[in-house]
C-alpha cells in the first residue's frame, strides 16, 4: 500500500478577481518529515500557493489534501491545527510580549477556556528555550532585532503543533549569520510528523538545507526533486533568465553563482 503523502496539491488553479492568473494547474505531493524549498522568481505564484494551502485564499479550482483529506471543508480552526505559517515579518500591537506572542500559537487548541492551561505554558517555555529566546520572554516583540523576531515567529508557528509549517521568505531581512541560524532551526525542527515548506530566494541556501526543491515560474510547476538533481545551469536559465554557474564546493555542497541577466525585458507586472 502506498503511503499517504502529507501534502498533496491537485490541479491547483488560482485566478484573482482582477484577472491575474497566479497559479496554473499545479500538482505535486510531498511526504512527511521533509524540509521542502519553494523557489522561483518574484510573482511566480509561491505566496499565492501557500495561501491556498492554508485556506487564506480559496483556489479557483483544484484541491489541497493534508494526510489524504481535503482542507476545503475544514473550519479555520481545524486548518490552524494542521497548518501553521511564519510570515516574513510581523508586528504585535500594544507591546505584546514575546511570551504572549508565542502563547497565541496555542489559540487553535484553547476552545472555550479563559486562560491557557499549564500544559500550554510548559510547551511554550520549552519552545522558547529550544529557539534561544527564553531570556527575551518578557520583552515586547517589536523591540527585538529582526533575527530574534524571526525566531519568535518560528517558535509561535511551532507551538501551533502543525503537520505542515509554511515559512515565507524567512531570511529576507537577515544577515549571513542569521540566515544560517534560521535554516539550522528549521532543519532541527523536522520530525517524522512535520514537514516544512519554505519559500526563499537564496537558492544556494535552499539547495544546502532542503530535502526537496519545488521550482516555479509564472504560476507553473517547473520541477520537483532533490536539489542536487534539480538545480542545474539550464534550469536557472529557464526559470530566472539568468546565466549562472552551478557548482560544488570542497564539502560537496551545491552553490549557485549568478553571472549576468540574459532574458528579454519583462512587460508584465507581477501581482504581489
Amino acid at each position: 500500500m502506498d503511503e499517504v503523502p502529507l501534502l498533496e496539491v491537485r490541479h491547483l488553479d488560482k485566478v484573482y478577481e482582477n484577472g491575474y492568473h497566479a497559479d496554473r494547474d499545479i500538482s505535486f505531493s510531498i511526504p512527511s518529515g521533509k524540509l521542502v524549498g519553494l523557489i522561483g522568481p518574484n510573482g511566480c505564484g509561491k505566496t499565492t500557493m501557500m495561501r491556498c494551502i492554508n485556506k487564506m485564499h480559496m483556489p479557483t479550482s483544484g484541491d489541497i489534501l493534508i494526510d489524504g483529506e481535503s482542507v476545503m471543508p475544514k473550519t479555520p480552526a481545524e486548518v490552524a491545527r494542521l497548518v501553521s505559517n511564519v510570515p516574513a515579518e510581523m508586528t504585535a500591537s500594544f507591546g505584546l510580549t514575546v511570551f504572549e506572542t508565542v502563547m497565541l500559537g496555542r489559540y487553535p487548541y484553547l476552545q472555550n477556556m479563559w486562560w491557557e492551561t499549564e500544559e500550554d505554558e510548559s510547551i511554550v517555555v520549552d519552545t522558547l528555550k529550544k529557539f534561544g529566546v527564553y531570556h527575551l520572554q518578557d520583552r515586547a516583540l517589536n523591540m527585538l532585532s529582526s533575527g530574534e523576531q524571526q525566531r519568535v515567529l518560528i517558535a509561535k508557528a511551532y507551538v501551533q503543533n502543525p503537520r505542515l509549517m509554511l515559512v515565507d521568505e524567512p531570511t529576507s531581512h537577515l544577515d549571513m549569520k542569521y540566515k544560517l541560524d534560521v535554516m539550522e532551526y528549521l532543519r532541527a525542527m523536522i520530525k517524522q510528523d512535520m514537514t516544512i515548506l519554505v519559500a526563499e530566494h537564496d537558492i544556494s541556501l535552499m539547495a544546502r538545507y532542503c530535502d526537496l526543491c519545488i521550482i516555479m515560474k509564472k504560476g507553473q510547476l517547473i520541477a520537483i526533486g532533490e536539489p542536487k538533481k534539480v538545480i542545474t545551469e539550464e534550469l536557472i536559465r529557464e526559470v530566472y533568465e539568468v546565466e549562472a554557474s552551478v557548482g560544488f564546493d570542497r564539502d560537496g555542497e551545491i552553490y549557485v553563482l549568478p553571472k549576468r541577466y540574459k532574458g528579454p525585458p519583462e512587460d508584465e507586472v507581477p501581482l504581489e
Partner: protein, 366 residues
C-alpha cells in the same frame, strides 16, 4: 498534577510563579481593588453634592431607608440620595465603563492607539440628531412624542447608529481593511459634523442647550435614564468580554489571526457593532464625553500589559471610577455651577495622554 506544577515552577526560575499564575493573581488583584475602588467612589458620589455633604453612614442610611420605603413619601435627604445622586452615580459608572471597554475593543480591532469610541462616526451622528431635536424639535415626523424624556436619547442612538452604519457600508465597499474603517469613519464624521455646524448656526436661542448636550453632562439623570444606559452597556460589555482572547490574537494582524483559526471579517464586524451600539447608548443621555474612551485603555495597558483578559476588566473598573470622579469635580469645583463633565475628562485626559505619548510611545510602534 502537583509534580507537574512544581516542575513548571522550577522551569520558570526566579519568578516563583508561572505566567498563567501571574495573570491569575493579577486578575484577583484587579477584581478586589477594582470593586473596592468602585464602591468607595460610589459612596463618595452619594455623600458629596453641592446642596449638602453627608457623611458615608448618613448617606447610606438614607439610601437604605429610601429603598425600604419603595420610593414613596421620602424625606428631602432621601430624595437627594436615592433619586438624584444614586442614579447619577450609576449613569457615570455605566458611561465610564462603556466608553472605556468600547475604546479598548476599537483600539485592538483597528490596532491603532489613537482610536477612540467615536472613530466610527457614532458621536457625530448622535450629535447631529440630538441637535435636530434640541434646536428644531425634530420628532421623527411625529413618530415620537415631543414630550418623551427619551426623545433626545432615541434620536442620538438612531443618529449614532446611522453614522456607524454608513461608515461600515463605506468601509466594506472599499476593502474592509482597518485603514478603510478609520478613513470611512473620519469622512462620515466630517459630513455629520458639517451638518451639525450648520444647525448650530441656525439654532438661535437654543444654542446654549445644544452646546450643553454636546459637552456632556450627568445633570438631570433619573432612575429611568440610568437604567436605560446601564442595561445595554452591561449586555454589550459581557458580549465583548467573551472576545478577550480574540482581541489578543488580532494584535498580530489580520492575516496571522486568520491563519490561526479566527474568522476575521465576522469578528471585526461583531466587535465593531457591539462597541458602537454601546457607545451610542453612552452618549444618548449624557452627550459626548471625550478622552475616557481613549485614555483609560492606555492606562490599563500601562498597568497590566497587552493581554485583553486583563485590560478589559481593568478598563471596566478604571473607566467607572474615573468617570465618577470627573463628575464629582464637575459639580463641586465651582459652587452653584455645574461644569460639563466632558470638559473635565478632557482636561484630565490631555496631560495624561501627553505623558503617555512621551513615556510609552515607543512600545506602540506598529
Amino acid at each position: 498534577m502537583g509534580d507537574f506544577r512544581d516542575k513548571l515552577r522550577a522551569v520558570i526560575d526566579g519568578k516563583g510563579e508561572t505566567h498563567i499564575e501571574r495573570k491569575r493573581h493579577r486578575m484577583v488583584f484587579l477584581a478586589t481593588v477594582g470593586t473596592a475602588l468602585l464602591l468607595i467612589v460610589f459612596v463618595m458620589m452619594l455623600c458629596i453634592g453641592p446642596t449638602a455633604i453627608l457623611d458615608p453612614i448618613d448617606a447610606l442610611s438614607n439610601l437604605f431607608s429610601a429603598i425600604g420605603k419603595d420610593g414613596s413619601a421620602m424625606t428631602d435627604k432621601e430624595v437627594m440620595v436615592f433619586s438624584s445622586r444614586f442614579p447619577r452615580a450609576v449613569a457615570a459608572i455605566a458611561v465610564g465603563l462603556g466608553l472605556s471597554i468600547a475604546g479598548t475593543s476599537y483600539q485592538a480591532v483597528i490596532r491603532n492607539p489613537l482610536v477612540d469610541p467615536y472613530i466610527m462616526g457614532v458621536s457625530s451622528g448622535a450629535g447631529t440628531f440630538a441637535i435636530a431635536v434640541i434646536a428644531f424639535n425634530f420628532t421623527f415626523f411625529g413618530l415620537i412624542s415631543s414630550h418623551s424624556i427619551y426623545l433626545i436619547a432615541i434620536a442620538a442612538i438612531i443618529g449614532g447608529l446611522l453614522a456607524f452604519g454608513l461608515t461600515m457600508v463605506l468601509a466594506h465597499r472599499a476593502d474592509a481593511t482597518t485603514n478603510a474603517y478609520v478613513l470611512s469613519g473620519v469622512v462620515i464624521g466630517l459630513v455629520f459634523g458639517a451638518v451639525q455646524t450648520l444647525m448650530i448656526v441656525f439654532s438661535g436661542n437654543k444654542v446654549s442647550d445644544v452646546l450643553l448636550w454636546l459637552f456632556g453632562s450627568f445633570a438631570n439623570i433619573t432612575w429611568d435614564k440610568a437604567l436605560f444606559i446601564l442595561i445595554p452597556v452591561i449586555v454589550m460589555s459581557v458580549l465583548l468580554f467573551r472576545y478577550a482572547k480574540e482581541l489578543n490574537l488580532i494584535l498580530l494582524g489580520e492575516n496571522q489571526a486568520r491563519q490561526m483559526g479566527l474568522d476575521v471579517k465576522k469578528f471585526n464586524a461583531i466587535v465593531l457593532v457591539l462597541a458602537s451600539v454601546m457607545t451610542a447608548f453612552c452618549v444618548a443621555f449624557c452627550g459626548i464625553i471625550g478622552f475616557v474612551g481613549l485614555v483609560v485603555p492606555h492606562l490599563c495597558r500601562m498597568l497590566f500589559g497587552g493581554d485583553h483578559r486583563l485590560v478589559l476588566p481593568a478598563s471596566l473598573a478604571l473607566g467607572g471610577v474615573l468617570m465618577m470622579l470627573a463628575d464629582l469635580v464637575a459639580r463641586m469645583i465651582i459652587p452653584g455651577t455645574e461644569l460639563p463633565v466632558g470638559a473635565i475628562t478632557t482636561m484630565i485626559g490631555v496631560p495624561v495622554f501627553a505623558y503617555l505619548l512621551i513615556k510609552r510611545g515607543k512600545i506602540y510602534n506598529g
